[in-house]
């Protein structure tokens, strides 16, 4: 409790940060292990989704997606929890929070012959996803992405890290999300999300949430299943020279025109009436 007593905005206190739980998830034979701080919410509500020990990523049950736009991503969640962090005792409420969500995601519209194990194809998949979460979700705040794009190879697996920020920085709530993605097979990948909320000025809270993210990501290990390793080797030999961008600048999107759909007439709840920046296309 001493840590709570001496917490400041610069050095916040997050319950359980130094006593994380070891979690191992079996995703159709691929083993993901990571250390996560325990779920903590001061309002007493339990976590969204306790870690699921084993998930069949090929079982369509539990996948949900959204057919808006031109690419379809479906995802299935296996962990979702929240962490709160606290500042000085003069403020009893938390000063910020992180919502951690882990999903397996499937891309359904990838052209025949393309594979997430090809680093170049994987980058295209993530580009498409980023576009979907930006201009193709026009009803929420405009986004800047990708920010702080970087890649890493860990235990033979390619990990890609990036952030999505709000374009309008005037809001007193500071908010951005960090993502870590890595392929599981041709059409599936893991996506770990950190949705961060803090107060302006955000310098301290951003530094803190990034340190939590790095701590979690440093603990992550993925061991691909035999089947996945075999597919990966085949894809590597098919495209031995494929690469992923080591660095990236954010897109200069122009958001589309859109309107609220009439769901009673079978329309989607958001109808994009005119694109300005066109959705990226897949290239084999």
């Amino acid at each position: 409790m001493l840590k709570r007593l001496f917490a400041t905005r610069k050095h916040p206190y997050m319950p359980g940060l130094n006593t994380p739980e070891q979690i191992t998830v079996n995703l159709s034979g691929s083993m993901l292990s990571l250390k996560l701080p325990p779920h903590y919410r001061s309002d007493g509500f339990e976590a969204h989704c306790d870690p699921i020990e084993a998930m069949n990523i090929y079982d369509p049950t539990g996948y949900g997606g959204d057919p808006v736009g031109t690419a379809v991503f479906n995802s299935k969640r296996f962990i979702s929890r929240q962490w709160e962090f606290f500042g000085p005792l003069t403020r009893l409420r938390y000063i910020g929070s992180i919502s951690f969500v882990a999903v397996v995601e499937r891309i359904d519209s990838l052209p025949e012959g393309m594979s997430c194990f090809n680093p170049n194809h994987f980058e295209q998949v993530i580009n498409r996803l980023i576009f979907k979460m930006g201009p193709e979700t026009p009803q929420i705040a405009k986004k800047i992405a990708p920010v702080n794009w970087r890649t890493e190879v860990k235990n033979g697996c390619l990990w890609l890290y990036y952030e999505i920020h709000k374009a309008d920085d005037a809001d007193p709530e500071s908010q951005f999300s960090s993502y870590a993605v890595t392929p599981l097979d041709d059409h599936h990948y893991i996506r770990l999300m950190f949705h961060n909320l803090g107060n302006k000025p955000s310098e301290h809270s951003n530094r803190f949430v990034n340190s939590v993210r790095d701590k979690v990501l440093n603990s992550v290990t993925l061991t691909l299943s035999e089947y996945a390793q075999q597919r990966k080797a085949e894809v590597n030999s098919q495209w031995p020279d494929a690469t992923i961008s080591p660095q990236r600048q954010p897109y200069n999107w122009i958001y589309p025109e859109w309107r609220d759909g009439d769901t009673s007439k079978g329309e989607r709840h958001v109808v994009i009436t005119q694109y300005h920046t066109q959705p990226p296309k897949f290239h084999l």
């Binding site: 409420r93 007193p172 949705h195």
Partner: protein
């Protein structure tokens, strides 16, 4: 000015004929009358116009407030209503003033928002733009869902957390995964942590009435400090039926349900909430008390005190101090919350007594609705609303 507008002929807009609860009629200048008549006839189902007409009914119904100062003002949303009490038997409406500065245009301005489940984020995300009215046709499991959060740093934090509260509170009706699907949203009435603003009570009254008017089922989730405001709104509905829809609300809200999540504030103990709901025919679903919320929740405090007493000496001095600490904190908190709102101070120095069409375009919902009134009532060409 002597406080009366009697130089020009005055016309009564609200009289005893409108409701039995009227204790003093409201008069206004003839040139304002056509517009108000239009509002009076067409406000049903329109949140903004209903707010305006209710302001008139409030003036007509409220006893008290009669002081020697002849000119009074009532502030709600971006409006300041100036009226005169110079004549003992009636209210004379002098002007309705619009001041945009009363409504913050920052990202956190109070009002109605949508919080939507965004699959790719795995979270409820609050949209930025203010909404004019609840999208009552959007329902899950047979009802529209609406939430009124208490204290949060911002509407995004509120939307994210309250979305969870909804799925936990109504778990008997649906599972989280059933409603966490793309395109689903709930209405979020964000008060931006100002729980003393009378205008919020009126907004909530409007929302309840609109749902009632459209005979729509609504599932409410009322959280924290908002419970006190909600209680005020429901109490108002039960005691001022003339300000109802503006009739007919009385005691039949059976299609609306409410769950209180960690309620805080006056008259917000579980039993009181249940009794109030019963009184107005609102379906009481439940209350979740955070046992650790001893600072602000009466029930949790009792429980804590019971524990403190039963634990006797074990609690020791620190327990007792903790308990006394509550009173001090609570008083401090109330004092801060009771302080004059920014709105009150902003009034000074403004002098725009008209709503001009060009300015109106930036007013959000009021802007979209009022020009219609102006043009409907007076035809094209009249762009001012005195």
């Amino acid at each position: 000015m002597n406080g009366s507008t009697a130089k020009s002929p005055l016309v009564a807009i609200i009289t005893e004929r409108d409701s039995s609860n009227i204790c003093r009629p409201v008069y206004m200048a003839e040139k304002q009358y056509e517009q108000w008549k239009f509002i009076k006839q067409n406000h049903n189902g329109n949140y903004y116009l209903t707010n305006l007409i209710r302001a008139l009914y409030d003036l007509a119904a409220c006893p008290g407030g009669r002081t020697h100062a002849a000119i009074q003002q009532k502030i709600f949303g971006p409006f300041i209503m100036h009226y005169s009490l110079a004549q003992a038997d009636r209210i004379e409406l002098i002007a309705l003033k619009v001041d945009q500065s009363l409504v913050s245009v920052e990202g956190q301005s109070p009002g109605l928002y949508k919080s939507e489940w965004i699959r790719e984020e795995g979270n409820w995300i609050t949209q930025d733009g203010l909404k004019g009215k609840m999208d009552l046709s959007h329902q899950w499991k047979g009802a529209h869902t609406a939430a009124i959060p208490g204290k949060f740093d911002g509407k995004r934090d509120a939307g994210r957390i309250i979305g969870d509260h909804i799925t936990k509170a109504y778990r008997a009706a649906f599972s989280a995964s059933e409603v966490q699907s793309q395109g689903n949203h709930f209405s979020l009435f964000w008060m931006n942590n100002d729980f003393k603003d009378r205008a919020h009570v009126e907004s909530i009254v409007s929302f309840i009435q609109q749902a009632k008017l459209k005979n729509t089922s609504v599932r409410w989730l009322v959280h924290g400090e908002a419970a006190g405001v909600f209680v005020e709104a429901v109490t108002y509905l039960s005691t001022q039926p003339q300000a109802g829809v503006l009739k007919d609300t009385a005691s039949n809200l059976v299609k609306q349900s409410v769950f209180f999540s960690n309620p805080r504030g006056k008259d917000c103990r579980e039993k009181q909430l249940e009794a109030l709901c019963e009184k107005v025919g609102l379906n009481y679903v439940g209350t979740k008390i955070n046992d650790f919320d001893i600072l602000f929740n009466g029930d949790a405090r009792d429980k804590f005190t019971d524990k403190a007493i039963s634990a006797g000496g074990v609690m020791g001095l620190s327990g007792v101090t903790g308990y006394f600490g509550y009173t001090a904190l609570s008083n401090g908190y109330d004092a801060v919350m009771a302080g004059s709102s920014i709105a009150t101070t902003m009034v000074i120095g403004t002098s725009a007594y008209v709503l001009a069409k060009d300015k109106a375009t930036t007013f959000g919902g009021y802007a979209r609705n009022l020009p219609k009134v102006v043009s409907s009532a007076l035809g094209k060409g009249n762009q001012q609303w005195h």
